[in-house]
């Protein structure tokens, strides 16, 4: 469980360039939950996840990971290893080793695991992200964009973090690549990792994947709750520079025409079901 309590973050504090990135955000990610974090560029999403993963210290407020307050710890890596794993945007740019297996082993070895344990974990991670054993000895730089991204994600999950945080994992993928990545994350959630936090600009991805949504706007958490209840607030989200899935907009329009639909409908299947029921009684 990750708890953020009134977390504030000011960059370049006490200088003329001081910039408040977070203005007191509280959030609890319970074990087993899938959160989507949305917000326009500069709203504070990335700062928030960097704080959640212990990479950045908040200026004020507390970060508690599985009951341990990491705010006061100077180098929190020891306290959070195996608890939180972070996959950055375009993680494939961070691959550096000469073979896929070595690259994935880097994290586990850094945690102090033996060579053999590291390789075991790397193989487990590869299977989960859908990379067959033939990939082990290939250079990561020979792979396609989608495969590279899988290697990068495998490198993080090989550390078996309880909570996996991903910043825009589907950016730049085509629809098939995107669907298979989201499918793979669902698998990871059921096996290696207990909870997932996903930062995304794609409302459709969040609607299809997340159970809970946090909306960031100008450094504040302005909406949080179940994905259906958040997307119901169509007009508010537009104000925040966001959007709702097209299907949710359609249901909004039908509701305005006087038809009684639940505005929390966020997938095509649910919409088809609801409309069919009304038409065929």
């Amino acid at each position: 469980m990750i708890e953020l309590k009134n977390v504030k973050c000011i960059y370049e504090e006490k200088t003329p360039d001081a910039f408040t990135a977070l203005k007191g955000v509280s959030l609890t990610v319970q074990d087993g939950e899938i959160w989507g974090i949305i917000g326009h560029t500069g709203s504070g999403k990335s700062t928030l996840v960097e704080i959640m993963s212990g990479l950045l210290k908040p200026t004020e407020g507390r970060v508690i990971i599985d009951g341990v307050d990491i705010t006061g710890i100077k180098k929190p890596f020891g306290a959070i290893k195996g608890k939180v794993g972070m996959v950055f945007q375009y993680p494939e740019h961070q691959l550096f080793e000469e073979s896929v297996i070595k690259d994935i082993c880097f994290g586990p070895k850094n945690m102090g695991l033996s060579e053999q344990e590291s390789v075991e974990r790397a193989r487990e991670a590869m299977a989960l992200v859908g990379l067959s054993p033939e990939f082990e000895n290939l250079s990561p730089f020979e792979l396609s964009g989608g495969e590279k991204r899988r290697v990068a994600i495998a490198g993080i999950i090989a550390m078996r973090p309880k909570t996996l945080i991903l910043d825009e994992p589907t950016a730049g993928l085509d629809p098939v690549g995107r669907d298979s990545l989201l499918h793979m994350l669902k698998n990871i959630k059921g096996t290696l990792c207990e909870s997932i936090v996903l930062v995304s600009h794609s409302m459709e991805d969040v609607a299809a994947f997340a159970e809970k949504v946090l909306v960031m706007h100008k450094g504040a958490a302005v909406l949080a709750g179940d994905v259906e209840t958040v997307f119901e607030k169509n007009e508010l989200l537009l104000e925040y520079g966001l959007d709702v899935p097209q299907i949710t907009r359609l249901m909004g329009r039908l509701k305005k025409c006087g038809h009684d639909f639940n505005l929390g409908i966020i997938t095509v299947e649910d919409a088809a079901e609801a409309i069919y029921k009304k038409l065929k009684g």
Partner: protein, 292 residues
């Protein structure tokens, strides 16, 4: 404006194997049109786009831009002036420390005299609604604003056609809306021919024509309605269709009779509203407008 005649492009990878990326492409893009180019990663769409302003030239066949063969190295300058390119990441396309200087950079390279330069910069920035930011530092702008500056930089060179390769892939929803509004405006008001590569089907639905590529060939070509109505084929090609198109397809499979092809939220809402207000009425009567 742009014509591909039997364009084949083969490249050799590190192991010396020849890979055919484009396979006998025939395509004619008319002046003033707005064409969306779709396809999976690796389908060849970016490679094709790079042929439009001679970044690449065909292994076989010809690409003709306003009557000029792109293989003619002496005419490279004219081709690049006619067709401008905008890429995915705005940060890689911005070079100067202020917005105005960034637009001036391209013009200086073209040797445009100073007096004309100011007029062109103003016009270009206004066309993407970024004139108020002319003295701003690019790194302080949002992604959508930066991408619009990148588009203005190309527009200032007064091309007849712009090719945009996933210009909204790295933007948030607001940035995407801003950039799409600018692209539409350039096409409708300034008459600039637009070729847009995108993975967002709602963006492609705004074009006049959709061209779908798969494994180096063109597999579908037509109006957005015509192309997106082939839901099963698009899915097989690994592409999305707009959610309302999927919904209508789903409802039809369940036996609901909805006429026409749907892409936009408004038209779908209208059609469904009509059906919902007449639950129990014979659909045939409804179709013939015999019922109010």
């Amino acid at each position: 404006m742009l014509r591909c005649e039997n364009v084949t492009f083969v490249y050799e990878n590190d192991e010396g194997e020849a890979k055919k990326v484009l396979d006998r492409i025939n395509l004619n893009i008319e002046k003033g049109s707005f064409v969306a180019l779709l396809g999976r990663n690796g389908s060849g769409k970016s490679t094709l786009a790079k042929h439009f302003n001679a970044v690449l030239t065909p292994t076989e066949g010809r690409v003709i831009v306003n009557g000029i063969d792109t293989s003619d190295a002496k005419r490279l300058f004219d081709i690049r002036k006619t067709v401008g390119m905008v890429f995915q990441n705005p940060d890689n396309q911005i070079v100067a420390t202020t917005v105005e200087e960034d637009i001036a950079f391209g013009l200086e390279n073209l040797g445009v005299p100073h007096s004309q330069m100011l007029r062109r910069i103003e016009k270009a920035l206004k066309s993407v609604d970024m004139y108020d930011f002319r003295y701003a530092q690019p790194h302080l702008l949002s992604g959508g604003q930066k991408q619009r500056v990148a588009i203005a930089g190309v527009i200032a060179m007064e091309p007849e056609c712009i090719v945009l390769d996933e210009p909204t892939a790295m933007l948030d929803p607001k940035g995407r809306r801003e950039v799409m509004a600018s692209i539409k405006k350039l096409n409708k008001e300034a008459g600039i021919t637009v070729v847009l590569i995108t993975h967002y089907m709602e963006e492609a639905a705004k074009a006049d024509r959709v061209v779908v590529m798969d494994k180096g060939s063109i597999v579908l070509d037509g109006s957005p309605k015509k192309v997106f109505s082939r839901v099963d084929e698009m899915t097989r090609l690994g592409l999305d269709v707009p959610q309302v198109t999927l919904l209508v397809n789903e409802l039809r499979k369940k036996g609901i009779d909805i006429k026409g092809e749907m892409l936009r939220t408004e038209e779908c809402a209208e059609a469904l509203d009509l059906l919902l207000r007449h639950v129990g009425v014979d659909p045939l009567a409804l179709r013939e407008n015999k019922v109010d």
